[in-house]
Symmetry: C7
Subunit: 96 residues, 7 copies
Amino acid sequence: MKIRPLHDRVVVRRKEEEEKTAGGIVLPGNAKEKPSQGEVLAIGNGRILDNGETRALAVNVGDTVVFGQYAGNTVKIDGEDLLILSESEIYGVLES
Amino acid sequence: MKIRPLHDRVVVRRKEEEEKTAGGIVLPGNAKEKPSQGEVLAIGNGRILDNGETRALAVNVGDTVVFGQYAGNTVKIDGEDLLILSESEIYGVLES
Amino acid sequence: MKIRPLHDRVVVRRKEEEEKTAGGIVLPGNAKEKPSQGEVLAIGNGRILDNGETRALAVNVGDTVVFGQYAGNTVKIDGEDLLILSESEIYGVLES
Amino acid sequence: MKIRPLHDRVVVRRKEEEEKTAGGIVLPGNAKEKPSQGEVLAIGNGRILDNGETRALAVNVGDTVVFGQYAGNTVKIDGEDLLILSESEIYGVLES
Amino acid sequence: MKIRPLHDRVVVRRKEEEEKTAGGIVLPGNAKEKPSQGEVLAIGNGRILDNGETRALAVNVGDTVVFGQYAGNTVKIDGEDLLILSESEIYGVLES
Amino acid sequence: MKIRPLHDRVVVRRKEEEEKTAGGIVLPGNAKEKPSQGEVLAIGNGRILDNGETRALAVNVGDTVVFGQYAGNTVKIDGEDLLILSESEIYGVLES
Amino acid sequence: MKIRPLHDRVVVRRKEEEEKTAGGIVLPGNAKEKPSQGEVLAIGNGRILDNGETRALAVNVGDTVVFGQYAGNTVKIDGEDLLILSESEIYGVLES
C-alpha cells in the first residue's frame, strides 16, 4: 500500500541518524533529535497557483531533502511512520 | 439522507482502527487515537479560485484518504458521525 | 419583517433537535448542544470576488444546511433568534 | 455638522430598544444589551477592489441594518454617539 | 519644517477638545480622552494598488477627519505632536 | 564598507537627538527615547509587486525620514549601528 | 556533499565574529551574539510569483549578506552548521 500525495505535498521517509554522539556515547531512542533529512517517496502533481495553473514540484522521487526538525505531519502507512511535507517546508536537496 | 458538500469540502467516514495495541491489549474506546484515514462519501463541486473559476477536486468518492488526526469537523447525519474536510486538509490518497 | 442578507450571507433558522437523549431522558433546555442544522430563509446576492464579479451562492432558500456548532452570529428578528452565516461556514446541504 | 464616510464605511444611528424585559420589568440603562439594529445616515462611495475599481455599497441611506453587537466604532458628532461600520460588518437589511 | 507623508499616509493635527465635562467641571490634562478628530496637514501621493497603480487619497489638506481614538502614530515635528494615519484608519470627513 | 539593501529596504542612520530635556537637564544615554528620525544612506531597487514589476522607492539617499520608534532592525556595519527599514515603515520625509 | 536550495532559499555560512569584546576580553563561545553576516554558498532558482513566473534572486554565490540575528534555520551538512534563509530575510549585501 502506498500514498499518492495531493498537490504540493511530498511523502518523505526520515533518514536514520547516527545513534552515537560525537564523543561516542550511544544515545537511547528518546534522547535523540529527530533527523531533518529524508528520502522522497512520492510527490504530488504540483502546487495550484492563484491563476489556476498547476506548477510541478522542484523535488523528485529518490531525492534526499532537508527540512526543519518539526516540519510536516507524520502518518502511519503499513506500520511505518512517514512524513508528509508541503514543498514549501523543504529547504533544499542534498547532492553528493 | 445524505449530505452534498459545498465547494472544496469532502465528506469522509473514518476508518475503524484496530482496537488492540501492538502487545495485544484491548483498548477501551476513549483510550484510542482517532483514526486519520477514511473513505470519501461525497465531494463538492470544486474549489473556487480567485479568478472565479471552479477547480475540480483531486479526490473521488470511494477513495481512502489520509489526513491529520485533528483535521476537519464532525457532523452527525442519521445518527452517524461523519467528518467534513476541506480538500486542503487531505494529505493524500491510499493506493493498494 | 424579514432580513435581506448582504453578499455571501445566509439567514438560517436552526432546526429544533430531539429533546431526549438516546436513553430516553428528557434534557432541560440548557443541557443541550445547539443544533448544527437549519433551514435557509434568505440568501444574499453572492460573494464578491477579487476581480469584482459577483458569484451566486451554492445554497437556496428552503435548503437544510449543516454547519459548525459555533458558526455564525445570532440576531433577533420579530422576537425570533435567527442565525447569520457566511456561505463559507456552511459545510453542505442535506438531501433526502 | 455631518460626517461623510470614506470608501466602504457606513454611518449608523443605533435604534433604541425596548427598555422592558419580556416580563415587563423596566431595565436601567446599563443593564441592557446594546441594540444591533440601526438606521443608515450616510454611506461611502464604495469599496475599492484589488483591481482599482470602486464597487458601490449594497445599503442605502434610510435602510435599517442589522449588525453584530460589538461591531464598528463609536464617534461623537454634535454630542450624539454614532456608529461607523464597514459594509462587511453589516449582516443585512430589514424589510417590512 | 514640514513632513511629506509617503503613499497612503496622512499627517493630522488633533483638534483640542473642550476641557470641561458636561457638568462644567474643568478636567486636568491627563483625565481627558484623546480627541479623535483633527485637521489634515499633508497627504501622500496615494495608495499603491496590487496592480501597481497609485490611487489618490479621498481626503484633502484642510479637511477635518474623524478616526479611532487609538489610531495612528505620533511624531514630534518642530516640538509639536502630530499624528500619522493611514487613509484606511480614517472613518470620514466632517462637513458643516 | 557599505551595505546595498535589497528590494524595498532602506538603510538609515538615526539622527542624534538633543541630550537635554526641555528643562535643560542633561540626560544620560540610557534614559533617552531612541530618535525616530534619520538620514537615508542607501535604498534598494524597489518593491516587487504581485505582478512581478519592480516599483522604485519614494525616498532618496540623503532624505531625512520619520519612522516609528521601534521600527526596523539594527545592524552593525564597521562598528556603527545602522537601521534597516522597509519602505512601508517610513511615515514620511522631512522638508525644510 | 552540498545542498541545492529550493526557490527563494539561500544557503549561508555565518561569518565568525571577533571573539574579543571592545575592551579586549576574550569571550567564551556561549557568551557571544550569533553573527548576523555570512557568505552565500548556494541560491535557489528564484521566487515563484503569484502569476506563476519565477523571479531570479537578488543575491549571488560569494556575496556577504546581512540578516537578522534570529533569521533562518540551521541545518547540519557534513558536520557543519549552515543557515537556510529566505531571500526576504536578507537585509542587504555588504560591499567593500
